[in-house]
């Protein structure tokens, strides 16, 4: 079995601040981390590898510094780490991203054998669209199972698998067959820590780098900023809501009565169906 895991390096969102003078994002010096969900995808791939034997290829599209993220995955037990990196890929929206990642998955299949399963995160903490997983599945015509919280069963011979999808209102049990793309939620597993041999291997490992020149059939009008139909026309920091706070005073009973009266005097009466 050949499993590909897509991971993305993201700025540590806790550290992002907004410059109060210019209202722009202060990205400088913000440390990069592997998107939280993606480590659960890596873990699940490694568990399948441990149980049934599999080759695990980790792919990221990003700047050269993203090789750190790949080495982290190698230290956990992934077989190869591929950095898809070229200035021409920069500025991609989800459509251009899914095209490049799908191309990389085809190339990984040519290099190491057909890809049976692909793991991606539910969403990232920066772009936060959750669109790249479904985009890749659509591009290469794989079955698509999003928001998976448990893999109940895999039959490595038939490729049949049963998973549990975590939805807003409950859990759906679904059966499908490889090749499949799965997007994962954090309930799926607890990521492992690196072993000492893993760390040693990672220290010596140099991630494979693929640039635009490594893809024979790449349509250059479909990548990067040029290949991205969505345009960010402006960003702004929303005005803090100007509220005039109504401080209610009196005895406990009085303030309770006044508050109820006041709230019934607003549109909440209709929108919450109080009337």
């Amino acid at each position: 079995m050949h499993i590909v895991v897509c991971i993305k390096q993201v700025p540590d969102s806790k550290e992002i601040k907004i410059d109060p003078k210019t209202n722009t994002l202060m990205r400088q010096g913000v440390p990069a981390v592997v998107n939280y969900y993606d480590m659960h995808g890596v873990e699940e791939a490694l568990r399948i590898k441990d149980k049934y034997g599999a080759r695990v290829t980790v792919i990221t599209m990003g700047p050269p510094s993203a090789d750190k993220a790949l080495k982290q995955c190698i230290s956990l037990g992934a077989d190869e780490g591929v950095l898809v990196s070229d200035r021409a890929f920069a500025g991609a929206d989800t459509l251009a991203t899914s095209y490049v990642l799908a191309s990389a998955i085809y190339k990984a299949a040519d290099t190491w054998g057909p890809v049976d399963m692909i793991f991606a995160g539910k969403q990232t903490s920066d772009g936060d669209t959750g669109q790249v997983g479904p985009g890749i599945a659509c591009r290469i015509d794989y079955e698509q199972l999003t928001y998976v919280q448990q893999i109940e069963d895999i039959n490595p011979d038939t490729g049949e698998l049963i998973v549990h999808r975590h939805l807003e209102d409950g859990v759906e049990r679904v059966k499908t067959r490889t090749p499949v793309l799965i997007t994962v939620v954090t309930e799926l597993n607890t990521p492992r820590r690196a072993s000492l041999p893993g760390m040693l291997r990672a220290a010596r490992y140099t991630p494979i780098v693929w640039t635009t020149n490594d893809f024979e059939e790449l349509d250059r009008s479909k990548i990067g900023l040029r290949g991205s139909p969505t345009i960010v026309s402006k960003t702004w920091v929303p005005e803090p809501k100007h509220v005039s706070t109504d401080m209610l005073t009196g005895t406990g009973n009085e303030v309770a009565a006044t508050l109820v009266e006041n709230l019934f005097g607003t549109e909440l009466k209709h929108s919450l169906g109080w009337a």
């Binding site: 806790k14 479904p134 960003t235 702004w236 706070t245 109504d246 005073t249 309770a256 006041n262």
Partner: protein, 354 residues
């Protein structure tokens, strides 16, 4: 396997005509489970009605499922002019392939200039597949929508933990697509006398050709769903312990709301982390938010400041939470909350009994 070398890559070019001026009107994809529409679908129709009127274009709805003709009818009552209705056993449960196939067919046949879906799990699953297939641009999780003079959709979405808003457009392709957060827009009042056209759409996939099968769905009535909550009663360190949440539950029950918490309360283990509101928890946007024994730290506030009405109860008159509250009560929560529960109960009960 030499002939395998050229691999299939879906979604590189739009199929067929690319005369974008043929694309007119707005289409809302209605989401349902077991014959019940999700509220976000009607909220979307409400907002899309406003946009369609501004564009002087028809408002369309797409209803897919099994035995869902009543939902097609409802879509008209909630503002649609035309409803495309695909009804088939293969569409009983949502599955990416048959649903996206119907959706693509309707888009290519009827050519809406804008397609909107709820930013729910199902909505994102479907929208991500369709936008890639067409291909077109897709804005995720929008909280503001508008159209400009050139008929461009201006979809704005929060970015970077809600710290900023970004307006995103797509000039290159049609339809322009966006998923939209639940609970942000308001549905129009249901009008059963509204009239519109319902057009049947044929679902043409055979069950044998659909690899993915839904085996079962287990409804979880206890699932914490803060994002969709209309009323949230949140508590913090001021509650003094897990028992304090009982008071909040009582108030929440009377209001049909949900309990939530600050990180101080979840970190102390008084309530599960799933209930945490804020930067590292859930971002909520209810109609009414009670902050009880919560000081109003910025990491909490970013997750709830867009609530329509905020009520703060705190014994410290200088607590920062009062700065963003519509109504403030300085006092002991253990005294105030039960009185408030009682006051609401008295006011609401006769209404319910009628």
């Amino acid at each position: 396997m030499a002939e395998d070398k050229r691999r299939k890559m879906i979604g590189l070019q739009p199929e067929g005509d690319v005369d974008w001026s043929m694309y007119r009107g707005i289409m809302v994809v209605v989401e349902q489970r077991s014959g019940v529409a999700k509220p976000v679908s009607w909220q979307l129709l409400g907002e899309a009605r406003r946009l369609a009127d501004k564009l002087d274009a028809p408002l369309m709805a797409l209803v897919m499922g099994q035995d869902v003709s009543h939902i097609a009818q409802q879509a008209i009552g909630y503002g649609a002019d035309i409803v495309y209705h695909a009804d088939a056993p293969e569409l009983k449960d949502y599955r990416t392939r048959p649903y996206s196939r119907v959706c693509l067919k309707v888009i290519k046949t009827y050519r809406p200039e804008i397609v909107l879906m709820g930013a729910t799990y199902t909505g994102r699953d479907l929208a991500g597949a369709i936008a890639t297939h067409l291909p077109t641009g897709l804005t995720a999780d929008s909280t503001q929508l508008d159209v400009d003079d050139e008929r461009l959709l201006l979809a704005s979405r929060p970015a970077f933990s809600e710290k900023m808003l970004a307006t995103i457009l797509c000039k290159q392709f049609k339809p322009q697509m966006a998923t939209v957060r639940a609970g942000v827009f308001q549905a129009l009042p249901y009008d059963e006398k509204r009239t519109g056209k319902i057009i049947a759409v044929h679902q043409d996939m055979h069950e044998n050709d659909i690899v993915t099968k839904v085996l079962e769905f287990v409804q979880d009535d206890n699932r914490v769903n803060l994002e969709d909550a209309q009323v949230i009663v949140a508590g913090g360190r001021g509650l003094g312990g897990p028992d304090g949440f009982k008071l909040l539950h009582e108030l929440a029950n009377v209001l049909g709301g949900t309990v939530a918490a600050s990180r101080a309360a979840t970190d102390l283990g008084w309530i599960d982390h799933a209930y945490q509101v804020g930067q590292t928890g859930t971002t909520v946007r209810p109609k009414l938010y009670f902050a009880i024994g919560i000081s109003g730290a910025v990491q909490h506030v970013v997750g709830m400041q867009n609530s329509d009405y905020i009520v703060a109860i705190n014994k410290d008159p200088n607590a920062p939470i009062f700065q963003i509250a519509n109504y403030g009560i300085v006092g002991d929560l253990f005294e105030i909350v039960p009185l408030l529960t009682k006051a609401f109960q008295e006011r609401l009960t006769p209404v319910m009994a009628r």
